[in-house]
């Protein structure tokens, strides 16, 4: 089902390309030995190189090259053995050199593919390229009435810019793309994916066109969006704005826009209005990066299992439904957690418990899986208790609640609270006999052919046993006794 905007003149299709800036996980910056930690004191992580002091020169951090290659491999992309750093020239106070060292004509990674799991099925989105570049510093505009303050801690931090093809067709796809890309880089350990701290940011190129039109129309670039939710909201707003512009007889202008999350709208950035001429040219302080295939192969050999492969394995080995598998692999920690739980035996049951019971608890308390109050070991034990009929699913929920609020080993909780399932035929038979004796009318109804009354009997037995009677046995024995 495609996402279309219904205009007055007809249906409009939205065309989206995303440029994602992902901070490379490295101790030091791309071209200097200063630290990259988040939240340090202003200008405390700035080397002479980062401050562009006269005569300072860049030297590439080898780990950043490895991380870029690793990411490229994770995106099933072509690794360019020869790539070149160029200077992108523009003036801004948080860009001390007056240029950003980036890659332009010859990036380190070429075309790749990201597969999205959409409700209507998988969607392959093309990756145009991945290149390395320096981050800029931070401008603080609200500290002084007349001045802007500059903190260069981020200046020179290594980024990967990952550019998609204009293959995305809805805000939902854009959101899925961001989530998938985030999952991949986190699996790879090449970016921590922390959008709140700006480790992962996104520029969205958005255009619209009447359905059926082949040519791309003028796009607007929405800069620096820092959450998946905002990416989707910004695109939705922008696409509708553009449809309105066209339908009012106007034209969309190519421009940079800013998403205002408070107002839920995009607006033109006046400061970026001026025509850009970045005057790219190869950085004469650096040499081309020439990699060997052997180097690339060595990195390839150390790649972890990535979300798509893991998802397939979950489906194949554990028999999980596609949706469940996709949910579990979205995050590596979740996938690992699930696998630990599944060790107990019933993987499908484990998946259910993680996706439904555990996620509900985590979502409610805004906790990450790493902060889960219930360890994977304990949840595994609980699932084990269900599978071996020690407790019923119903009772398990009570046990789980105790585990969440008070903690503890599920077996101990079951023991302490006497929640063990009643599987003793004699005990259940006795309860049924007593129930039939006390309720001859209902028993007669059953014998007269009203089998629906079984439900009432089961309910009564479960009540009498405080939920501990094995429901399957209760059913079987009831049929026998009543029939």
């Amino acid at each position: 089902m495609s996402y279309l905007i219904e205009g007055e003149t007809g249906d409009w299709e939205v065309v989206i390309g995303l440029e994602v800036h992902a901070q490379i996980v490295s101790k030091a910056k791309l071209f200097s030995g200063a630290a990259t930690d988040f939240g340090a004191e202003p200008n405390s992580q700035v080397s002479l190189v980062d401050a562009a002091m006269p005569g300072m020169l860049p030297v590439i951090n080898e780990v950043c090259i490895e991380q870029a290659v690793r990411t490229g491999l994770g995106l099933n992309a072509k690794i360019n053995l020869h790539s070149v750093f160029e200077r992108k020239n523009y003036f801004y106070p948080d860009l001390p050199q007056g240029y950003q060292i980036s890659q332009f004509l010859e990036p380190i990674v070429g075309e790749g593919i990201i597969t999205l799991d959409m409700p209507e099925g998988p969607r392959e989105i093309g990756v145009e390229r991945l290149h390395m570049e320096q981050d800029a510093g931070k401008s603080l505009h609200d500290q002084d009435p007349k001045r802007t303050f500059i903190d260069l801690n981020r200046s020179g931090v290594a980024l990967m810019e990952i550019v998609s093809k204009p293959d995305l067709r809805s805000p939902a796809e854009a959101g899925a793309y961001m989530r998938k890309l985030r999952a991949i880089v986190r699996y790879l350990g090449t970016c921590d994916g922390n959008m709140e701290q700006g480790s992962l940011r996104c520029d969205a190129n958005v255009s619209v066109r009447p359905t059926g039109e082949k040519e791309l129309r003028t796009r607007a670039e929405i800069k620096n969006i820092n959450s998946v939710r905002f990416v989707m909201a910004a695109i939705e707003y922008e696409a509708e704005r553009q449809v309105e512009v066209y339908e009012d007889g106007g034209n969309v202008v190519q421009e940079t826009r800013l998403y205002d999350a408070n107002k839920g709208e995009t607006r033109s950035m006046r400061s970026k209005e001026e025509a850009h001429d970045y005057r790219y040219f190869p950085d004469p302080d650096l040499l081309p990066i020439d990699l060997t295939q052997d180097f690339v192969d060595q990195i390839k050999a150390t790649l972890p299992e990535l979300p798509d492969a893991k998802k397939q394995r979950f489906i194949d080995d554990y028999g999980l439904a596609i949706d469940d598998a996709a949910t579990l692999v979205a995050d590596k920690e979740t996938a690992d957690y699930f696998e630990a739980v599944a060790k107990a035996g019933d993987a499908k049951l484990a998946a259910n418990w993680v996706i439904h019971e555990l996620f509900a608890v985590l979502n409610k308390a805004s906790l990450s899986i790493a902060e889960s109050p219930v360890s994977s070991d304990d949840l595994g034990k609980l699932v084990g208790l269900i599978s071996d009929d020690t407790i019923s699913g119903r009772i398990a929920k009570d046990v789980f609640e105790v585990m969440v609020t008070e903690g503890g080993d599920p077996a101990d909780i079951v023991e302490d609270k006497g929640l063990k399932q009643i599987t003793d035929t004699g005990e259940i038979e006795a309860m049924i006999d007593a129930l039939i004796a006390d309720n001859p009318e209902q028993a007669q109804q059953y014998r007269d052919g009203n089998t629906k009354v079984t439900g009432w009997f089961v309910g009564q037995i479960m009540k009498a046993s405080e939920g501990k009677a094995n429901p399957q046995m209760v059913n079987e024995l009831l049929k026998k006794k009543l029939g």
Partner: protein, 96 residues
């Protein structure tokens, strides 16, 4: 090269030039580029642009923090800083 081009380049390069200067620069730059035009005599169709003067692989550094951690060192030459002495550079307010 006309005055408009000179003004355009001056703007790109963030250099203030007076009207009089624009005039003389246009003349000088025209002369220089006329002289440079002789390069067009050379057919360079199948020539690769030079990428580096030295024939060697680019050296790299290990991923190790060994610099920074001294804000004063990078700030001490700054023409303007916040009055409270906090560790920032200061520039005229930027409107986004």
């Amino acid at each position: 090269m006309d005055k408009a081009t000179v003004n355009n380049i001056a703007k790109l390069a963030r250099i203030k030039v007076s009207d009089a200067e624009t005039e003389s620069l246009a003349g000088e730059l025209t002369n220089i580029f006329d002289w440079i035009e002789q390069l067009n005599e050379v057919n360079t169709d199948n020539v690769e642009p030079m990428t580096s003067v030295v024939a060697m692989a680019m050296p790299s550094r290990v991923d190790e923090v060994n610099d920074g951690d001294d804000a004063e060192r990078v700030l001490k030459n700054a023409p303007d800083r916040p009055a409270d002495g906090s560790s920032f550079y200061a520039v005229p307010k930027v409107v986004e």
